[in-house]
């Protein structure tokens, strides 16, 4: 079953074309990884899917219903699609617990006690027990990013979008974040992941898409795309990655 469908989406930032007629479908329980150079439109695509930015043409739908449909109500879309950002974007003036329970309580009307119990369970699940009363800046980058994942999961989204979630982390902290993403895959979470970690994309992705210049140039299962890329630009991109020692 198709959960998220991106259908011929085009987006400009001013005169600059950032998404050029992009189509992509994500099945239930599927993990799709987006790779490509900076500026290829990967992050913009995620932002379009969560309605953080407008797009100029095309259609994006969740379970076949346009994301702009009134049936979602004011917050329905954001309840069902969660996103985690490269820079965590936690609220620095709020404790970890309040960061996590803010949306359930204030947006979705969950009772305080219930939302805090759920947050406690999630924190335990992601190895963050004992940090509920800390402020984000007291945590390491890896811990902050895990809190950001927990915050996105607190409203039980059906689809999770991850935007270069390890790009701002020290190398030795990347593993702990990648591990929880693998755990989420094992639990059947539907995910769209923008990443520069090729090994991880190969490991966790059911499908990998290579973007360049706002277009999906190649789309294949990871083993095929990484070992026998068809498009010359994909080959060139992967060659540079290998030369840089990142694969």
């Amino acid at each position: 079953m198709e959960r998220v469908t991106v259908d011929r989406v085009t987006k400009y930032y001013g005169d600059k074309l950032v998404l050029d007629d992009v189509s992509l479908a994500i099945q239930e329980h599927e993990v799709v990884c987006l790779i490509g150079a900076s500026g290829s439109g990967k992050s913009t695509l995620l932002r379009c899917i969560t309605d953080l930015v407008d797009f100029d043409a095309g259609r994006i739908s969740l379970d076949g219903v346009s994301i702009f449909d009134n049936s979602f109500g004011r917050n329905g879309l954001h309840k069902r699609i969660g996103i985690v950002f490269q820079a965590y974007n936690l609220f620095p003036h709020m404790k970890v617990l309040d960061n996590i329970t803010l949306a359930p309580r204030k947006v979705h009307g969950v009772a305080k006690a219930e939302s805090e119990q759920k947050a406690g369970e999630l924190l335990r699940l992601f190895g963050l027990e004992g940090y509920a009363d800390s402020y984000p800046e007291q945590l390491s980058g890896g811990q902050q990013q895990r809190v950001a994942v927990v915050r996105a999961l607190a409203t039980n989204p059906e689809v999770l979008l991850l935007d270069e979630v390890t790009a701002a982390l020290d190398p030795e902290l990347i593993g702990e974040v990648l591990k929880i993403i693998k755990d989420l895959k094992d639990q059947g979470m539907t995910m769209l992941i923008v990443t520069h970690e090729m090994g991880f994309a190969r490991d966790v992705g059911d499908r990998v898409c290579f973007l360049e210049g706002g277009r999906i140039l190649e789309e294949a299962p990871p083993n095929q795309l990484f070992s026998a890329p068809e498009h010359p630009r994909t080959r060139q991109f992967l060659q540079r990655i290998i030369e840089a020692g990142r694969l």
Binding site: F85, F91, H93, M94, K106
Partner: protein, 283 residues
């Protein structure tokens, strides 16, 4: 056994300061300041006009005589100041929020705020105090207060709120864009984003700047004296007009300094703490 060991090496030479190196800079500082003060004092006191200046400006008798009234007036200054601070803090925040709202329906609020801030930052406070303090009571509109004090203070509040609103706005703009994205992605409405994310962080950002405004207002409340409010300056003026002795103004000046200098020090302290907090965060 220990006696057989060579004595531990002396600390490297040049690392310890002799008593002279330790204390000499402080002694020179204090001494040179003292010398300058004494020389200036001698020059002033020995001047031909000094007795006249002393009688006119530093007459202890005049100060003592008028001090209770000046102090009472100063009480009015500080009461107006304290109440105005609270009202300004709230009203300016409301203005800043009006100005930050997006969406076509909020256009009237945005336009109102822009015009308000342009007007009130562009007008002299003195003119506003005169206009409100004399003008509005003269209208004798039933139901409105007729006190010059009330309307003068209102003029101060309106003027300072324009500045404070701009300070808040800069604080809101300084909050990282990612905060808005995160709030929207979580489903927070525009109002909830302001309420839970942007405004709390903005207030933290601007407290030092707001305190600077508070110090400026602490002196500017003396403008109320021009509309007949019997504050510290007015009380001193009344005595001065009668006796041609200016010492009560000096007494009022001392009272203002006693309030503004600690306030300025507090502002410096808070600003320093704030800077340390930011440095820690980026480290």
């Amino acid at each position: 056994m220990s006696s057989q060991r060579p004595a531990p090496a002396a600390p490297p030479a040049g690392r310890t300061l002799s008593a002279k190196e330790k204390y000499l800079p402080s002694i020179i500082s204090v001494g040179s300041v003292l010398v300058v003060v004494l020389v200036v004092r001698q020059a002033v006191v020995s001047a031909e006009q000094w007795p006249r200046i002393k009688a006119q400006f530093f007459s202890l008798d005049a100060m003592i005589e008028v001090f209770p009234k000046v102090l009472q007036g100063f009480g009015i200054n500080m009461t107006v100041w304290a109440i105005a601070l609270v009202v300004i803090a709230l009203w300016a925040l409301i203005l800043a929020i009006f100005r930050s709202l997006t969406g076509p329906w909020f256009a009237p609020l945005r336009v109102f705020t822009v015009v308000y801030i342009d007007l009130l930052r562009g007008l002299p406070s003195l003119l506003m105090v005169l206009l409100f303090g004399f003008g509005i009571p003269a209208l004798q509109i039933p139901g409105l207060p007729r006190s010059s004090l009330f309307w003068g203070a209102t003029a101060m509040v309106l003027t300072y709120s324009a500045y404070a609103a701009e300070v808040y706005r800069s604080g809101m703009e300084a909050v990282h864009d990612g905060q808005r994205a995160a709030a929207k992605a979580l489903g927070l409405s525009q109002w909830q984003t302001l309420r839970y994310s942007i405004v709390p962080q903005a207030i933290r950002n601007v407290i030092p700047s707001l305190l600077n405004l508070a110090v400026a207002l602490q002196k500017d409340v003396a403008l109320l004296s021009v509309i007949g409010v019997r504050d510290a300056v007015r009380e001193a003026q009344i005595y001065t007009a009668r006796t041609f002795n200016y010492s009560p103004l000096i007494a009022a000046a001392v009272l203002f300094l006693a309030a503004t200098i600690p306030m300025a020090r507090l502002t410096d302290y808070v600003a320093r703490k704030d800077r340390e907090r930011r440095l820690q965060r980026t480290a």
